[in-house]
Subunit: 611 residues, 2 copies
């Protein structure tokens, strides 16, 4: 069975040494009032969280994959053995409320802490973690735009974990393109709506954890315009609550089937049939797409954390195997008495392990940086700081989603490779990590869509302002450390890449402007490569900063266990072996849309209708 | 259900226009005598093969994955529904004997044709294709080093497909490192040996297709030296044949269990327990490792063809889906009457499709080039040509195995991405291609081992002679075409990369020499990146050559259906978007072993015994 130990030491390093999170949070009245910004308290919570995920969730990961979920004829769903009991413990311990607003029963801990816990949950059992995970989006949307009545009725139960939430967006013919959904809402004239349609790919859409499930559903109100401007957001409970808040009448939403998937077998991916189900409007009519993005942004960082968590656990198991499995000889031999040496002595094995370590640790730094920015955006007393944090969140969320899930999948694949043939059989659990990690690149907006969001919307649409702000942050760090003995070399590499990123951005922007109606194609043609380039600039910045902190500790003789030297060596590996991907990306981005301009009929036998 | 149409047009292009295979083969008396080197005959055979794989194998691919193989208590194995019947048709039609020696009942067709058919079989149903596929290795080994008695008894039945063969190498503690296997052979003094031990991961190790299975088994004869120099190869039949060749006494080899795997569920991956099983020596005592490599080289190209075939079928399905699935708008609209346009209009979708096309078509060219080299090595009347072909096979086999399976897996992943969420559910079959493709990177020597074979053994060990011969081939093509309007630009890029490959080779070679006993670590640290660089040089060469042929046709107005223009556009895409990976690889190879040199204790908590 796979093993997992929460990376508590690294969480402390990132939170306390890299981000200085306790001091940052202490500036915010919200955390002062709730007394939740204390470094010791945060560390204790994470230790407790680690005990929970290692003890309760990890043991269910492989069995959950093997059993999957079972739907009975009436549409009920049975989750794998132990899943429900683990959820009850999770709720009893108060974990669902960790970073929620005390106004609704939350504990008011920083997102920084909650996101660290989410990484751990994803490492231990991503299929299980999705049940409570989806609730976060519903809570965000209701908190921000729900009516006071809906908030009072639903938020306490969602936050306590008594009920869970879902996001119902996709339909059979409409995934990326939500403007063409067909689910309809009819106004009942009594403050409720009647929702009819079919939603697919609904994660945690039906289960046996709780006695109610609260669906947030995109639908088109009768008479609303076509396209994205005619879509509204509705709350549709599985059971319509009674006046006292207990689940009442069964609503007209039923699980029609469960999907058979490549992975995350333990999570029920439901087809939900809404047949005149009673719903309540959330937010404003025809503003559903905007409200949906509140949920979506939370879900995107959450998905990035799946890539991070799965990369971490796959990496940890590859390290353990590489230390244990003996095969071939090293010079000098490290196991002279035995027939072979542990495979960790072979540089190619170390290369695979280090790829996991370098991406995962930078990913953790990015995820917690973003989480701290979310805390700052929500609670900083200085409005300029809020705005700055909001821009950071906007700019880096697509990178966190796409770069972290792409890297997470690749780490899972490379970690599986360390096991040789044993990685391909189910017993060792490595192939499950690969299957489970694959979905992160696809859902909550494919990584292609994330790339378009980054380059088209977040960078070009505001004239590069957010990008320039980030460049300023990098420049400030560079100015301060460019002569540093250890970090100076990384800063040189980073500076070149950051300048090149600016040049490439201008190049693509210019081509897009020159392209007229075909201009968007120029963005579309290079967006994925652009996001990857951008990701390396962000990770390069984080590795340079982490190396600076580590170098100071090593020089000061404060590195008893080699933790800081390992950080330094990992930064060195990152800049030597992973960061150079930017060299290729620079060239492919320059190649641009022209490389994809050809006759679709000759190439693929495709004939457009209008031709 | 996934669809598949054999790429017959592209087979003809590669065989006839790129490789001029019929004329080359016609120079060899073997094919003259057998009258099998005729272009029309080869094309007809491939058409017939296409009908077989499309009609008989493709429909069993998804059901085979869902059902898997079942082992009963006595060790018998039931393959998925329809698998056995399809095999019987395959045998009745004479397909197993396609490229086998007429001396043993073979049809004497070129390997070039047989390898094209193998690609198709792998596209349609890789799990099924492995049953007859493994027999090839056994036939090769027996043909080359088997005693006349063994040849007469076994070759006709293996070649006709009446019986199948296996390769039994791996043991629980020994995969890459076969020198430490524990399976023992005792001399019975009557020309037979008694084999005892456990072999794992034996593909097609037990099944219900045939009434006998012939295992080729590595074991250590009592009294033989330790390590690889004490290993011999034995033939162990499941049933010991009677004098008349019918299966007789049940031998002491039993399937102890089947592995539960990530993919290739339709193929039985057996644990085989040998308990005093009767065996016969194949070749010479203690030369088993050498003899094993006869099987292994066939298996390596065969594995490369799995990557190729799976890439092709995944790509084909992604193209079909991208033409059919409508989502978002293009400018100009191609479906003005409908709500959305087919996703093939989006450049990022085209990028994913083109990646599949560019790698697959170059892979097909490499595979058939290698197959023709195998034909030449075996049958060319000129010994110098034989030697040249043998060197080509030796140099390019690790590239065919590793580069083609890595690309095949990546194509399957990208093609799955084109489907969005629908790619993740089993129904569409895309996730099966990903799971099935993953094993090719692992077995028959992991791709890391292939890389070491290429850089350490094939390039550095002979002082770069084989590499120089290949460079000469590239140079000759470059000299002839460097001023060509279309291809000149590609030749410039290719020439720079080829020069850089030579420089990198010398750099690594020098470091390895300077490194003393740690020298091999320098090779180990960069071999994977080196193989990928080398692969791009080979594919770049093939794309430049294909582009030259295509350009001539286009200029001559001989491109009615756009086939040649598509080749030209694909070459352009390859050099613009894929070949630039060499830029990064060059840098990471230069970084070398120093990037992986650190304290294993601080980094991974690893403490060598000798420390």
């Amino acid at each position: 069975m796979p093993q997992y130990k929460a990376p508590l030491r690294d969480f402390r390093f990132v939170m306390n040494e890299l981000l200085d999170a306790p001091a940052q949070l202490a500036q915010m009245p919200f955390y002062q009032d709730n007394e939740t910004a204390d470094a010791d308290l945060m560390a204790q919570v994470l230790e407790e969280a680690a005990r929970f995920v290692e003890g309760e969730l990890l043991p269910l990961n492989q069995t959950g994959d093997q059993q999957g979920c079972q739907r009975s004829e009436n549409g009920d769903v049975k989750t794998p053995d132990g899943f429900k009991a683990a959820y009850q413990k999770y709720v009893q311990a108060g974990w669902p409320a960790l970073d929620a607003d005390p106004q609704w029963g939350g504990q008011g801990m920083p997102h920084t802490v909650a996101n660290a816990m989410l990484e751990m949950m994803n490492s231990a059992n991503v299929a299980w973690a999705m049940y409570p995970g989806l609730t976060h989006g519903a809570v965000s949307a209701l908190s921000e735009v729900g009516s006071p009545e809906l908030q009072q009725l639903y938020l306490p139960k969602l936050i306590s974990g008594e009920w869970t939430g879902t996001m119902c967006l996709t339909e059979p013919h409409a995934g990326t393109d939500l403007g063409i959904i067909r689910t309809k809402a009819a106004d009942n004239g009594d403050g409720t709506y009647s929702i009819t349609g079919t939603k697919i790919f609904i994660s945690a859409g039906e289960h046996d954890f709780t006695d109610n499930i609260i669906h947030l559903v995109l639908a088109r109100l009768e008479g609303s315009p076509e396209g994205t401007k005619g879509i509204s957001l509705f709350l549709v409970p599985k059971f319509v609550p009674n006046a006292d808040g207990t689940p009442g009448e069964r609503n007209g939403v039923v699980c029609g089937s469960l999907e058979h998937k490549m992975g995350i077998h333990g999570n029920a991916t439901a087809v939900l049939n809404f047949d005149g189900a009673k719903g309540w409007l959330v937010g404003e009519v025809n503003r559903g797409m905007n409200h949906m993005f509140i949920m979506m942004n939370a879900a995107r960082l959450g998905t990035g954390l799946q890539g991070l968590g799965l990369g971490e656990v796959a990496y940890q198991n590859a390290v353990a195997y590489a230390k244990d499995r003996t095969q071939m000889r090293a010079e000098p031999r490290v196991n002279p008495a035995e027939q072979a040496d542990p495979i960790i002595v072979h540089p190619d094995v170390r290369r695979m392990l280090m790829t996991g370590k370098a991406y995962t640790e930078a990913g953790r730094a990015l995820a917690l940086w973003l989480a701290l920015a979310l805390d700052t955006e929500a609670h900083h007393p200085d409005e300029a700081k809020q705005k700055e944090a909001a821009d950071t969140v906007a700019l880096l969320t697509p990178i966190a989603k796409a770069f972290m899930t792409d890297n997470g999948f690749n780490i899972a694949v490379q970690s599986q490779q360390v096991f040789g043939g044993h990685g391909y059989i189910a017993e060792w659990g490595m192939e499950q990590f690969v299957r489970d990690a694959r979905i992160g690149q696809i859902y909550e907006g494919t990584n292609g869509i994330q790339s378009l969001d980054l380059l088209g919307r977040k960078v070009l649409m505001d004239g590069g302002k957010k990008l320039q702000a980030l460049a300023g942050t990098l420049q400030a760090f560079a100015d301060e450390n460019e002569d540093d003995e250890v970090v100076g070399e990384y800063i040189t590499q980073l500076g070149k890449a950051a300048n090149q990123l600016a040049t490439l951005t201008m190049l693509v922007g210019q081509k897009a402007m020159d392209g007229g109606e075909k201009g968007p194609d120029e963005v579309n043609a290079v967006a994925v490569d652009y996001l990857r380039y951008f990701g390396h600039v962000v990770y390069g910045y984080l590795w340079a900063r982490m190396a600076k902190i580590a170098a100071d500790k090593v020089v000061a003789g404060q590195d008893q266990d080699g933790f800081y030297q390992a950080k330094l060596d990992t930064a060195r590996f990152y800049f030597a072996r992973l960061f150079p991907e930017t060299k290729s990306l620079s060239q492919t981005i320059k190649a641009g849309g022209e490389s994809l301009d050809f006759d679709l009929k000759g190439m693929f036998g495709f004939e457009p209708e209008h031709a």
